[in-house]
Symmetry: C2
Subunit: 419 residues, 2 copies
C-alpha cells in the first residue's frame, strides 16, 4: 500500500474557506485540501479528494457489477437530433442545458443525463429476447446549467454521476432487476457510512411512472423535505406527501419531517425512450416489442459532500474507514530529530506492508498545527510518534471520533485498524 | 481475476463500420465493439474499450507517480477571467474553444488544456522554495472545437488527456525534472507496445521555448511528417526541419521521412503562466521569484487509436498484452453440449485463479463467426475448447499473431500466458 509524505503532498490546509463559500461541506473540503473552488457549483478535486472519490467509485462499481452492470463511458457532447426524438432538446422543456456551437456548423449540448444517447446506442446491440436483460452504467461528468449553486459539491454545475440504465423484455423482468438494483443502492449507502441516515423515499415518477424511488440522507444541508414513517424505514417526499399516497403505501399517520439530500434516485422509464428512439426486440414468437427500461443514478461527488455534512464535527471532517483517503495518519512530533524521523518512516513502511495506506506527517510544523490538521483532514485513525512514544516503546493512537488517545503496541494498532 | 461470458457482454461485433467512418482505427474499434461513434470526433467507450483504457491509464499513472506526480481532477468548465490574464480567452488567439452561456450570467469555456486554472490553483499551495519542485497531473476530458475530425479516436472533439504540469524553483531544477518526465514518457510508450515505432521529435516550442519535444509514432494514419535521423533514435518535425536546426542538434543529413502521429508532447513553459497569473515563491534569501513551469501531455484515447493503427492486421486488432481487454479469449466450440460448456467454465475459472482475465465465448454461434470475432477483437491469446480438445486432454492455443494453433496442456497455456 501507499505511504505519502505530507511534506511532499502539494496541498496545504487553510484556516479559512473562501468568503463566498457558504456550504459546510465545501468549506471543510477546501480547508482540508480535498477540493478547490473554480466558481459556484464547479469544483476541482485535489489529491486527497481524488483518493476519496476513487474509494467511493470502487464501492459503486463493485455493487453495479454484482447486479450484472457493464461499464461504458459516453460522451459529454450531445447531438441535438437524438434529443429531439423525445422533445428534450427544447430549452422550454429542459431548463438546465449548457449548449455550445460547433465550428463545423450546428449546436451541441453537454449531457445532463444519458437516456437518449444510450437508448440509441443499444439499437446496435439489442435485437432479440436473447439479448435481454442488460444493465449498462458509467461514472461520468454531467453538466447542468443551474441558476443557483449554493450547496457546495452537493449540487454542482459540473459533477460526477454514476448513471445505470436497464433494458428488459417486459415489466416483470424489469421489476426483478429493479429490486436487485434497490438492494445494490442500499449496499452502497451502507458501505460509504450513510446507511443509518438514508431512507428509501417515494417521490414523483414524473412522466414515467406513478412513483420514483429516491434515496434521501437526512441532513440540515439538504434541499428536500421528507416525511419518515415511524413504522417502516421508508419516507415520502414532500412533493407527493398526500393522504392518497400514504394510503397507497399502507402507511399510517405517524411521520417525522426532516430535511434531506437526494443521494440516489431510481426510476422505471417503461417504454418512453425505447418508443421514441425505436429500441425494439423480437420475442420468442418473432413479435417486435419495445424494450422496457429503468434508470438508476448516484452522484459520487454529492456523496462526498453528504458524508462531510452528516459526519463532520466541530474539529473537521470524519471519514468512514471505507472511503477515507488514507487508513492511518501518522503524525511525527519532532520530525527534525533524525532518530524520530527514521523510526516514523519504519513504522509507516511496516503499516504499509500490513495493507494500510499511510499519510505520514513529516512536516516541519508545530505540534498543535499538526494535530489540528489531522482532525481537519479526518483520517479515521491518528497515530503519534515522538521521543516520548519511542521511550515507551509504543505508539500513541487515537480514533478520529475518540476523546482520548491511548498507548498501543504496533500489533495493537494493526488490530485496531483491522477492526 | 475476471471471467466475462461473451453471451452476457452486451456489445456485438459488426461486419461493417458505419459508412461515414473513414479512419481504420475507428472502423476496427467500432466493429469489435470497443467504441461507438456519436458524431465526427466524438466517441463513446463500450465495455471492451473501457477495459483497454483502464489498462493504459494504469500504466500512465504508475509512470507519473514514479516521478512524483500527484493526481488531481480539474473541471471542464472554465472561467474566462482566468484565461484573459494570458490572452487565451480570445477566439482570435485560440481557435478551438467550445464556449457556452451560463444561465446565471456570463460565458464559460470548456477546457482544451489546463495551464491557467492549475497555475491559479497552485497559488494557494506554493509560497516558498520549500514547496518546490512539484508535479501535478490529471487524466481528464478535454474539448476542442475542431473544424474537421477525420482521424477516428486519434483526433477527437472530446477526448481524454493526461496532462501533467511541473513547478520548479528555476531552470536547472526544471530541467532535472523534465529529463525524468522524458524517461517516464519513453516508459509509457514502451509499455503500451509502441516503443519501437515512437521517436523523440524536436518540434516548435511555440511562444514558450526554442523547441518542444514531441513523441511521434510512425503510422500512415498520422497527420504529421517527421524526419528520423538514421544516426540517433530521434526525429525532427517538418515544421522545424531546417539546416539550422539540424546543425543545432548536431545531426548530419541522413534522414528518413515518415508520416507520424503525435502521441505525447512535453514543453518547457518557463515563467509564461506564473508571470501572467502571479505564481511566485520566496527563495532562501526571501526574494520573490516566479515559479518555473513545464507541461507534459499524453492522450490515452489517441494511444488506443495509435495502437490499433500500427499493430492491426487484415483480420482485426492486435493488442499488446499490457493493454489487452482480457489476457485470454476462451472460445468454446459446441457450447450447446453440457459437458463441453461445463469443462469450458472450469478452465475459465482455473485461468482466473492463475491471475488471468478471461473472455469466455459461450455464445450459440457458428465456429467461423467465433474465430473471426476472436481475430477482430484481438486478445493476445486464443484458446479453443471443443469435444476434440477434450478427447485429447489438451487445449488448442494460438497467439493472435501466430499462424497456427497448437495443442497444449493447461500448464503450458499458463506458461505461455506468463511469458
Amino acid at each position: 500500500m501507499t505511504v505519502t509524505k505530507q511534506s511532499h503532498l502539494f496541498t496545504k490546509t487553510r484556516r479559512e474557506a473562501p468568503a463566498d463559500e457558504t456550504a459546510k461541506n465545501a468549506q471543510l473540503l477546501i480547508r482540508g485540501g480535498f477540493v478547490h473552488k473554480e466558481m459556484a457549483g464547479v469544483y476541482d478535486l485535489l489529491p486527497l479528494g481524488v483518493r476519496v472519490l476513487n474509494k467511493i467509485n470502487g464501492i459503486i462499481r463493485e455493487e453495479m457489477n454484482a447486479v450484472g452492470g457493464q461499464e461504458v463511458h459516453l460522451s459529454a457532447l450531445q447531438n441535438p437530433e437524438t434529443w429531439k426524438t423525445t422533445n428534450r432538446w427544447d430549452d422550454e422543456v429542459v431548463d438546465n442545458w449548457f449548449k455550445t456551437e460547433l465550428k463545423a456548423g450546428g449546436m451541441l449540448g453537454l449531457g445532463f443525463t444519458h437516456e437518449e444517447p444510450l437508448t440509441e446506442l443499444m439499437k446496435n446491440h439489442i435485437s432479440s429476447y436473447r439479448d435481454l436483460p442488460r444493465a449498462v452504467y458509467q461514472i461520468q461528468t454531467k453538466f447542468r446549467n443551474e441558476l443557483r449553486a449554493k450547496s457546495g459539491i452537493m449540487r454542482g454545475r459540473e459533477f460526477l454521476m454514476k448513471d445505470m440504465y436497464s433494458f428488459s423484455s417486459n415489466e416483470a423482468e424489469h421489476l426483478a432487476f429493479y429490486e436487485k438494483a434497490k438492494e445494490a443502492y442500499f449496499n452502497v449507502f451502507r458501505r460509504v457510512g450513510l446507511g443509518e441516515t438514508t431512507y428509501l423515499t417515494f417521490a414523483s415518477g414524473g412522466s414515467f411512472s406513478k412513483f420514483s424511488h429516491e434515496f434521501q440522507t437526512v441532513t440540515e444541508a439538504g434541499e428536500d423535505t421528507i416525511y419518515i414513517s415511524k413504522e417502516n424505514k421508508i419516507a415520502i417526499n414532500k412533493e407527493v406527501f398526500t393522504d392518497e399516497v400514504k394510503k397507497d403505501l399502507g402507511l399510517g399517520d405517524d411521520f417525522i419531517e426532516a430535511k434531506a439530500v437526494e443521494v440516489g434516485n431510481i426510476f422505471t422509464l417503461a417504454t418512453k425512450f425505447s418508443d421514441a428512439l425505436g429500441l425494439t426486440y423480437k420475442d420468442e414468437t418473432g413479435e417486435v416489442k419495445p424494450v422496457f427500461m429503468g434508470s438508476y443514478g448516484i452522484g459520487p461527488t454529492r456523496l462526498i459532500g453528504t458524508i462531510v455534512e452528516t459526519l463532520a464535527d466541530d474539529k473537521g471532517i470524519v471519514w468512514p474507514k471505507s472511503v477515507a483517503p488514507y487508513d492511518v495518519h501518522l503524525v511525527v512530533i519532532g520530525s527534525e530529530k533524525p532518530d524520530v524521523a527514521t523510526h516514523a518512516e519504519k513504522i509507516a513502511a511496516d503499516l504499509s506492508v500490513q495493507g494500510f495506506d499511510v499519510l505520514l506527517d513529516d512536516r516541519d510544523a508545530r505540534t498543535g498545527e499538526k494535530l489540528g490538521d489531522a482532525d481537519l483532514i479526518g483520517i479515521p485513525m491518528r497515530v503519534v510518534i515522538s521521543e516520548k512514544t519511542m521511550a515507551e516503546g509504543k505508539l500513541e493512537a487515537k480514533a478520529r471520533t475518540a476523546d482520548a488517545a491511548s498507548f498501543m503496541t504496533f500489533d495493537e494498532v494493526v488490530e485496531a485498524l483491522k477492526s
